[in-house]
């Protein structure tokens, strides 16, 4: 038992940090640090920088153009990216559909799609949830009818993230209504340029446009865009859900957020003294730091089990539950720290170019919105209630 990183791992960290410091564009870092809006180009610039370095796909096997890093290296890299205020790597292509294509796609699909995911030429989004199929995903209805060499897709997907930027969408569709719900689902790759696709924004509680509805009206999808076998889509979906869990705990980003929170608590003043000197508030920071210290080790335990090919299994649900709760508390405390300065809603203040004077300190503007936005983390990706169902069934056998 040794909780310290090996010399190799420390060297790897140093190398990663150096590269990020030298190559992450300052304007992007400032946006992330300041909680400003990121546009498609911001994401893509960073994507291409990492791609050029061969680091865009840390977890991919080398033969597909990945970095071939082990789970610990990936964890270190995530942590360094977060600490440097690098933008999130959009997971839908690299971490979600790609592993499915590698595992179940045919050589043609692999040859066509994987390089374009690496290069950033294809921006992917997800077509899973439907208005009537949320926690109960298997009840999804969106029909895909086979017509000779193509499918005709109709219906509506929702809670689609950043689909407004996407070139492709991977969808779970219903190709059969016989037998168990799970047995009539197929996994389709659909070109977002296809006629009949409409993307409609859903404005979220923070007033931002991040989520969409995607409508399909007689959309033609060539058969070669079917992954694996028809009606076996649920298997691939479950594989996807179970995959790439290294990042699920969000330890790196939460450590960054904790740093930021402490910064704010040092700069805010209460009763004439820095807020952090108020034991009542400081204890709240301390409490969430304890949770995060524990989660970091728990996460590393799961990771090191992964590294030894012992499948981590439903422990991922623990990481999801704790990770999301910690993110929410951190954002809440940051909002709380600035007191009544959490009230102003200056929409333009989150635009990179904005020259106006901030209301209150420069870090105030995004805090309340960020807190509101992160309410989603206990809902999406399988709500925390669903995660506890998984734990009680898969781990506890109840």
């Amino acid at each position: 038992m040794d909780l310290n990183f090996t010399e190799e791992e420390q060297a790897f960290r140093a190398q990663a940090r150096r590269f990020i410091d030298e190559n992450l564009p300052a304007d992007i870092r400032d946006k992330v640090h300041g909680g400003k809006r990121l546009n498609k180009d911001d994401f893509l610039r960073w994507h291409k920088i990492l791609h050029k370095q061969g680091w865009i796909a840390p977890g991919w096997p080398v033969e597909f153009g990945g970095a071939g890093w082990n789970a610990v290296q990936q964890h270190i890299f995530d942590e360094e990216c977060a600490d440097a205020d690098a933008p999130l790597i959009i997971p839908f292509g690299l971490r979600m559909v790609a592993p499915v294509i590698m595992a179940f796609g045919n050589p043609g699909q692999q040859k066509y799609f994987l390089p374009k995911i690496l290069s950033g030429e294809h921006w992917w989004c997800q077509g899973y949830s439907e208005p009537g199929a949320g926690s109960d995903l298997a009840s999804l209805k969106t029909p895909a009818e086979r017509r000779g060499d193509h499918y005709i897709v109709n219906g509506q997907k929702t809670w689609n993230t950043l689909g407004q930027y996407a070139d492709w969408i991977f969808c779970l569709v219903r190709t059969s209504s016989e037998g168990r719900q799970q047995e009539g689902i197929s996994f389709l790759l659909i070109d977002m340029q296809s006629p009949g696709i409409t993307v409609r924004p859903i404005v979220m509680l923070d007033g931002e446009h991040e989520i969409n509805e995607v409508w399909f009206e007689n959309v033609k999808v060539p058969n070669e865009n079917l992954i694996g076998q028809e009606n076996k889509g649920w298997t691939y979906a479950k594989f996807l859900l179970g995959h790439e869990r290294t990042g699920i705990a969000g330890v790196g980003r939460s450590k960054r957020a904790l740093k930021h929170l402490k910064e704010i608590a040092r700069r805010e003043v209460s009763g004439g003294r820095p807020l952090i000197e108020d034991a009542r508030f400081r204890d709240k920071i301390a409490q969430v730091e304890l949770e995060l210290m524990a989660l970091e080790i728990t996460n590393l335990r799961v990771i090191s089990a992964e590294r030894e090919q012992r499948a981590p299994g439903p422990e991922a649900s623990i990481l999801k539950i704790k990770g999301s709760e910690i993110q929410q508390v951190l954002s809440e405390l940051a909002m709380q720290a600035v007191g009544h300065y959490s009230l102003p809603y200056v929409h333009e203040a989150l635009d990179a170019g904005w020259q106006g004077t901030p209301v209150g300190a420069d870090y105030c503007a995004p805090l309340a919105g960020h807190y509101f936005n992160l309410r989603k983390t206990t809902i999406y990706g399988g709500s925390n209630e669903i995660q506890k169902n998984i734990i009680s069934q898969m781990i506890l056998g109840l």
Partner: protein, 380 residues
């Protein structure tokens, strides 16, 4: 000991509820929020006609001589519609200050004007760096002939832009955080030297940053005695907190209704999600939190009028702390139980949630008031 409203109060409550349900729908509210001013002057006039704007004032000044419980009834009714009009600032806070500290001339000019709907006011008290400390006033008022010159900055002044007149707290003696040496001044918003930077708030309301640069006011601008305004301000803010508690409890009840309905309507896995025991108990906890919060609301509103300042402050802090905690729980869980729908702008749930969050951050959050309450245990 009696928890019943009078017949008048019950009738009054019914009228208000019908009014909000009919004339202040969620869609109407959305339209109002999008307007330039962010509230409706028509609605304000209707409030005047309903007698709401003079409710707490003596009849001699065009009021109805209502007590804090009456105001509680108004705020709870308003909460359902997330009413945007500046009732709290104009009627409760500024009306309360004028009532408590004003001389006859000031009462006669201001109170009937507020009651009639012709005058809107805002309290410019908190400043950058004060956080929630009420005694922290750096804005200065220096004598100038027989008038005054005001200099300073006021932050997050609720409804600051809508106000025709401001009540500004300023230091006439002592250091920035002394209890003594604070005075109140009535300042016309559009006089020279007053800059008002308005903006929307997270909950769709409006507030402003206000700077005062060599603002000249006459001797008659002084509201109440010089140097001793702090107790008056504390009392007015406590009164405001009590009514905010009523708004919060009303919103919690509204969220519980919406969530319960959703649990019964939304089907997953072939059954209404309200069939899942975990969600049933969550809903039960939300109900319990709301009932307990309601009890604290009664306590705060009854004590808001109390003569004993220490007892009043202690109770109001207790209520603000407890209701802040309870509303955080109910708000977060209402969103959680609505799933993805709960985090959309489309449903009123997220708007209720955001308003609860901002109420908590107004006049001291739950932790601030828990601390204030806790510190009273040292005396006890």
């Amino acid at each position: 000991m009696d928890f019943n409203f009078t017949e008048e109060q019950t009738a009054f409550q019914d009228t208000l509820r019908r009014f909000i349900a009919k004339d202040y729908t969620f869609e109407r509210r959305r339209q109002i929020a999008r307007t330039e001013e962010g509230f409706s002057r028509d609605t304000w006039r209707q409030f005047a006609e309903l007698g709401l704007l003079g409710l707490p004032f003596p009849e001699a000044y065009g009021g109805m001589g209502g007590n804090a419980v009456d105001t509680m009834i108004v705020m709870e009714a308003f909460s359902r519609g997330l009413v945007l009009e500046p009732y709290l600032t104009t009627v409760v806070l500024c009306g309360g200050l004028v009532r408590a500290a004003g001389n006859d001339a000031q009462k006669e000019t201001l109170l009937p004007a507020i009651a009639g709907g012709e005058l809107m006011m805002a309290l410019a008290h908190y400043e950058p760096g004060t956080r929630y400390e009420v005694n922290h006033v750096a804005t200065s008022a220096k004598t100038d002939g027989n008038g005054w010159v005001l200099d300073g900055a006021k932050s997050v002044v609720l409804a600051g832009q809508a106000a025709d007149k401001l009540i500004v707290s300023a230091r006439t003696s002592g250091g920035a955080r002394d209890d003594a040496g604070i005075s109140l001044f009535i300042v016309v918003r559009n006089v020279a030297g007053v800059t008002v930077r308005g903006y929307p708030t997270q909950d769709g309301m409006r507030a402003a940053e206000i700077t005062l640069k060599s603002v000249r006011v006459g001797a008659d601008a002084l509201l109440g005695a010089k140097d001793v305004a702090l107790p008056t301000i504390e009392r007015a803010i406590d009164y405001g907190i009590a009514t905010l508690c009523a708004e919060a409890v009303g919103i919690m009840a509204a969220l519980n209704e919406a969530t319960l309905e959703y649990l019964k309507m939304r089907k997953q896995f072939g059954v209404p999600i309200g069939k899942f025991q975990v969600l049933q108990h969550r809903m039960a906890d939300m109900l319990i939190a709301t009932e307990q919060a309601r009890s604290m609301m009664y306590l705060a509103c009854v004590k808001a009028d109390a003569p004993d300042a220490a007892e009043r402050r202690r109770t109001v802090s207790a209520a603000k702390a407890y209701i802040g905690q309870a509303s955080r729980y109910v708000g977060q869980q209402a969103v959680q139980l609505h799933g993805a729908m709960g985090v959309t702008d489309e449903l009123n749930v997220s708007h209720y949630f955001k308003r609860l969050t901002m109420i908590n951050a107004t006049f001291g959050d739950a932790d601030h008031h828990l601390g204030k309450f806790s510190d009273t245990l040292l005396a006890a």
